[in-house]
Symmetry: C2
């Protein structure tokens, strides 16, 4: 790691690969002989059109997205998708929502504005510490879609299977997209905010089965209509150009690291290091139950809020920052996204060990 840089465990926006930042810096004043920064380019210029098209192609190839599915580069984050999904797919009727954390809960609440929401599950009573099994899901045959969030950043749980449902699957993959292969054909719609595994905040990627689009409610704003945005190849209005460029650089880096298969191996190694330590620790304990644990966000605590705060400060003095858990969950959270090197996870374990020795 370059001198002065830290290990940044932020849940999002989060660490970006250092070679990506270096490349962006090198191209900042004059992108490949154009005489300008990517930030200054018309979104209709040949230079930016090339970036846009190549990024889409790299993304499609990386996740092996079938031709039945369109890729959209949008704005507004997952939060705008919480409304866009029901506006486009619910037809004013009903949909099933699996509530396994904060963001799926928010999505369900927003969807109530546009139709009838039925909960396929709600893990609130157990502090969202586990993901329900397939047979625990309560499925409505009339549902226009089944909605879930594949990874819960706040509670540190992750779906280890793809739900089997009659209704099309809609999945918020904001915090684990590009961390593993995905069988995209099984999904009606996937969306993800970029600021965890893909690019800086400000870009939302949507992968939509074309055959599900075109049924939006009449008051759907133009840029929230999947059909309209597909017709305009995301360029009805000015897209978040810089974030798309950064995604392009991240995809190049990811390809060099072995693509999503490489990312999957890397995330397993990082998470195993940390969970193995936690399961044997006399001071720290993991929040999520085995079988539901996220490789992306490891949540843990000592059981003593004061000691948690002490540990967070202790780690920060050693250059391991943003380990504080989300305010609604408390404790600690180590986000181990694609761009976190294995050494970062190793440093975290060494730091926990050292702290443990002093306090047990």
């Amino acid at each position: 790691m370059t001198e002065g840089r830290v290990y940044n465990f932020s849940a999002g926006p989060s660490v970006l690969p250092e070679p990506v930042l270096q490349r962006a810096r090198a191209e900042m004043m004059n992108y490949r002989g154009t005489g300008m920064s990517v930030m200054e380019m018309s979104h209709r210029s040949p230079a930016f059109s090339e970036i846009f098209t190549e990024t889409k192609e790299k993304f499609r190839s990386m996740l092996r997205i079938p031709d039945s599915h369109e890729i959209l580069f949008l704005q507004g984050g997952a939060t705008l998708q919480f409304a866009a999904v029901p506006m486009n797919l619910m037809e004013g009727k009903t949909a099933d929502y699996a509530v396994t954390g904060n963001f799926s809960g928010k999505a369900a609440k927003e969807a109530e504005k546009y139709g009838t929401v039925r909960l396929a599950c709600n893990t609130e009573a157990c502090g969202h510490s586990r993901i329900p099994a397939q047979e625990e899901l309560c499925l409505n045959p009339d549902a226009k879609y089944f909605y879930y969030c594949s990874n819960n950043t706040i509670y540190g749980t992750e779906w280890q299977y793809v739900p089997q449902t009659a209704a099309p699957l809609v999945c918020d993959m904001s915090s684990d997209i590009l961390s593993r292969p995905v069988d995209v054909a099984r999904y009606g719609l996937i969306f993800a905010g970029a600021q965890k595994n893909m690019a800086p905040a400000g870009l939302t990627v949507v992968i939509a089965d074309r055959s599900l689009t075109g049924r939006e409610l009449p008051y759907t704003p133009q840029i929230m209509s999947y059909k309209t945005m597909i017709e305009h190849d995301s360029l009805l209005n000015t897209p978040p150009c810089w974030c798309i460029y950064m995604l392009s650089l991240v995809l190049d880096w990811l390809q060099e690291q072995g693509g999503v298969e490489g990312m999957e191996q890397g995330k397993r190694e990082r998470a195993k290091l940390v969970y193995d330590f936690l399961d044997g620790s006399r001071l720290f304990r993991a929040h999520a139950e085995p079988g539901s644990r996220s490789d992306m966000n490891v949540t843990f605590r000592t059981g003593d809020d004061g000691l948690d705060a002490e540990f967070i400060a202790f780690a920060a003095r050693r250059g391991l920052v943003n380990l504080k858990g989300h305010k609604i969950a408390g404790g600690m959270r180590a986000s181990l996204y694609n761009a976190m090197p294995l050494e970062g996870a190793g440093e975290l374990v060494r730091t926990m060990k050292e702290f443990e020795r002093k306090h047990v």
Copy 2:
């Protein structure tokens, strides 16, 4: 200008001040000792919170925004505001729209989804070459607001006065915000996409009179509700952090150049250079009528499409790029935003003169 850089006359995204890009580059890997890029910062971190708060304060101070008005940093561009404005302010009733160009026309069309749109004027018949006078505006006493776009990038016209209306004024200032002082108290709502005079694409600034908010339609998505976003100080979800940081650097630069008063003087000088030449030219002629002309976007043509294309290529070979007019207007367009140096306008005139000598 740094070697290799061009004069970029793009209408948006457009040229940024060179010192701003240099500063962003210098801070790219490690922002002021935090050990990370601004692109990697949690939007809730102390470092980013400081950037966020300071940017808001600098913006308020720069435009002398009264306490009655809130500043929001949003996503989705002006196009999402075309829906957000009627969703929040029309109450399903009616509003007046002054259609003086492409984007006000689009805004009026989008608003029809949410209530009854009445046109206060429509300059389409004259090719949007002029802005109507106050007495030409057809005002409806029942209008919930009066909507206009202060500068038309495509046709190169700009309102030289603030309309007097009983209904609150709503203004799309995407292409002339920060180019002159504005009496914000006269407006109910101002919005602007950042990618012309403020920052890279992906940020939308809204300035809203608090007393007009809270009347949104029930199906308004959370992040499109001005009231909700005011309550969360724009941080209901992750904002476009990098663009906000870039805006902060642009505001610093702008302050050094004399603020909006300095910008107003600069834009007048640049535009005068170009219009004076056009009015005396035997080859080129300006599209917009005197009294309606934009200082931000100068539209002109030779009257011969082939010759226009030749000029655009001629200028590009001299490092003056993106002079092609918008496809629906044709001809040429020179965008002279805040970050365009006076020398850029001078070079443009010299290039037009040289071309004229060869062709007249």
